[in-house]
């Protein structure tokens, strides 16, 4: 499979087939048509079938009378006890067997599970294979379509001494029944790798960035028996965390930003053409907050979660507007039996066991997990997401002991919603545009903003009669993140700082300098 000439032929077919993509609805249509056609043929057999059923029932009655109840036991329904909620598990969808496979993770009781679970759209099954990878968290898992195996790599295990952790660099494959440890001669030099199947090269691609300052990026390929480091000309280098996902024709890497890029925190979307990485330029970028992603085969769109639900059609990310929302870290898989994407649990939480399904436009709760404990509020309550006008009413009603309460009288037209948390002596409101390309945070808070970079400019400015601090992360970028911090003359019941006045913080992302000051000067 690694023979370059063989790959050329495969790539030539790929190019030819790119003109005739598989219609996303073909699978469901074809299966339904087949079922409907067969139903028509079944009618002539009905009488025969009824006779058979009658015979079986008669036999069952006689057997019951003769043998008594002890001899006939009802067959229990398929047990479907879901796994305990777990963070940092590995998940992949086993296409050959139509099952989501879940391995490892952390529960509140165990730091590194070695459990293997599958979910087929109807029921969870815990497997007990005789050989299994050692327990771990953070393993990379992906389905190797060419070889019809789930591949697991790396992760972190507790040290046998009981102190510290061990970085795992082992490779395992799952065939639906058992795990097998592979013994490649070359091993990726990491325990924290993203993996995804590349339909173009028919190889499993692994990608990681060395966890050092400006660490080197590495692209690895798994051919079923060996890892090989590839040498692309371009590589994503933004972060050590990202998501590899196939859009059905090519492999995408959604790189999560841990540093502002051009003064803004957004993700980068890259595509792999079998030889090289290319950074795509979506019309709207996915905001950068820990996205999980999967290909929704019903719609042919890539689905991503980051607190919102997003889809990618190859040219732009689009925020969807579901009525309920899974957590940003939910484990995702497209389950053909349901013809839906399912989201289970949370890779960032060992307390979330909710199971939801995405039908292309909305999420529905299939099965709620155990109740989640509520976080201590410190006197503030999360008042939810609402319109900016409702947010103003809510804040002015809730904040009663801090004065003055300043809110913008003029917001950019793109701002459509506000998420509010507030108490009598303070508040925080986050205004956002529909597609999240613009966000504004304002509050009575003692802010501790992160330091800027080399190009960051921080200066003192006169604002509302006091001296304020104004910072622009990257003045060369017109829409750079920027913030303003000042002590507004006023009073509060429990002063947050020794300085007099009420501490205010205003920050914005996606606004020009002029728009930012227009906003700041509209505070009333």
């Amino acid at each position: 499979m690694t023979d370059p000439q063989r790959n050329r032929i495969v790539a030539a077919f790929d190019r030819e087939l790119a003109d005739t993509p598989v219609p996303p609805e073909l699978r469901s249509q074809a299966v339904r048509a087949a079922v409907a056609a067969r139903s028509e043929r079944r009618h002539p057999r009905q009488q025969w079938a009824l006779a058979l059923v009658a015979t079986v029932i008669a036999f069952a009655i006689v057997a019951t009378l003769v043998l008594g109840t002890r001899a006939i036991k009802t067959v229990p329904a398929r047990p479907s006890v879901p796994p305990a909620p777990r963070a940092s598990a590995g998940v992949a969808f086993d296409e050959a067997r139509g099952q989501m496979v879940l391995f490892g993770g952390i529960t509140q009781a165990q730091p590194a599970l070695d459990e293997t679970w599958t979910f087929d759209g109807k029921a969870w099954t815990q497997h007990h294979p005789s050989v299994s990878p050692p327990g771990r968290q953070g393993a990379a898992m992906a389905y190797d379509s060419a070889r019809q195996r789930v591949v697991l790599f790396g992760g972190i295990s507790p040290a046998k001494t009981g102190k510290g952790q061990v970085e795992m660099r082992d490779t395992w494959t799952w065939d639906g029944r058992s795990w097998r440890e592979e013994h490649p001669t070359v091993v990726p030099a990491t325990s924290n790798m993203q993996m995804g199947y590349d339909p173009a090269s028919r190889l499993l691609i692994g990608f990681y960035v060395e966890p050092t300052f400006r660490g080197t990026s590495h692209t690895m390929a798994w051919n079923g028996s060996a890892w090989q480091e590839l040498q692309p000309t371009n590589q994503p280098a933004l972060s050590t965390v990202g998501t590899l996902v196939s859009d059905g024709r090519r492999l995408l890497y959604i790189a999560q930003a841990f540093a502002a890029d051009g003064g803004r925190y957004t993700s980068e979307t890259w595509s792999w053409d079998g030889r090289d990485w290319q950074r795509l330029q979506p019309r709207i970028n996915l905001p950068s907050v820990g996205a999980n992603a999967v290909l929704d085969r019903s719609t042919g769109l890539v689905l991503a979660l980051n607190g919102d639900t997003w889809t990618f059609d190859g040219s732009t990310w689009t925020r969807q507007h579901p009525t309920i929302q899974p957590s940003a870290g939910a484990y995702l898989a497209y389950v053909p039996a349901l013809k839906k994407v399912v989201a289970w649990g949370d890779r960032f939480s060992s307390q979330n066991g909710d199971l939801l399904a995405w039908d292309g436009s909305d999420w529905t709760m299939l099965k709620a997990g155990p109740p989640m404990p509520t976080l201590p509020s410190k006197g503030w309550t999360v008042e939810g997401t609402m319109s900016p006008a409702d947010a103003a009413v809510s804040i002015r009603k809730t904040v009663t002991t801090a004065k003055p309460v300043l809110l913008p009288s003029q917001l950019p037209a793109a701002i459509v919603e506000a998420a509010v948390s507030a108490g009598p002596d303070g508040f925080n409101v986050l205004y956002r545009s529909d597609q999240r390309e613009m966000s504004i945070a304002l509050g009575i808070v003692v802010a501790n903003p992160p330091p800027g970079s080399q190009q960051t400019v921080t200066r003192a400015v006169k604002f509302r009669g006091v001296t304020a601090q104004y910072q622009v992360y990257d003045p060369a970028s017109p829409l750079s993140q920027r913030w303003l911090m000042w002590n507004e003359p006023g009073t509060m019941a429990q002063p947050m700082t020794k300085a007099t006045g009420v501490p205010y913080f205003l920050s914005a992302d996606g606004l020009t300098d002029a728009e930012f000051w227009q906003l700041a000067n509209s505070l009333k």
Binding site: Q5, D14, R27, V31, A34, R38, R78, D120, K122, A146
Partner: protein, 178 residues
């Protein structure tokens, strides 16, 4: 009865599907729709025709599921049905006469000649159908020659010969192993 059949194993899925379980049938055949469609697209060179061929193949597969002797061979079994459907459609619509010359114009060919990869694609399109399909099944679908032979309804030796002759025409020097 259907719901109590343990899904997950191939055998259980086949039994459940034979008993009328749509979900089991979808689990079995669903993952093969994509390779089936690609095979049909390569054979028919027309998206709509490929789509119809796969739907017909799906109906046939559902009806003939009881004839599937070994569920581990379901991939080549289904692709054989798809290939048969394509042959039937091609015979009915004289594809080889109309479609082949229209695939690439001379202008397009000269424009792309400079790039060998695209040149390979052009050569692939001009191969005789049986050689083209043999290459597709052997290299793209990664099927062993024995299964390629079944789908093409020829002996394994003939399948190997088809692959060799195709590679010869493409001037690609490769070893073909069983």
């Amino acid at each position: 009865v259907v719901n109590s059949v343990p899904l997950g194993s191939g055998e259980g899925l086949v039994s459940a599907a034979i008993n009328g379980d749509e979900t089991a049938f979808d689990s079995l055949v669903g993952p093969l729709i994509e390779p089936g469609f690609k095979l049909a697209a390569v054979m028919l060179r027309d998206s709509e025709e490929a789509r119809d061929a796969v739907q017909e193949a799906c109906v046939t597969a559902w009806r003939k599921l009881a004839q599937l002797r070994d569920e581990t061979h379901i991939r080549s079994w289904f692709l054989t049905i798809v290939a048969n459907q394509c042959r039937t459609r091609r015979r009915a619509k004289w594809w080889s006469v109309v479609r082949l010359p229209a695939v690439h114009s001379a202008e397009e060919s000269s424009r792309h000649d400079w790039e060998s990869q695209l040149d390979l694609g052009r050569q692939l399109r001009t191969l005789p159908d049986r050689q083209r399909i043999a290459l597709f099944l052997f290299f793209y679908e990664d099927l062993p020659l024995a299964e390629v032979a079944k789908i093409l309804n020829v002996s394994p030796q003939a399948a190997k010969s088809l692959v060799h002759r195709a590679l010869g025409k493409l001037r690609v020097n490769m070893e073909v192993s069983q």
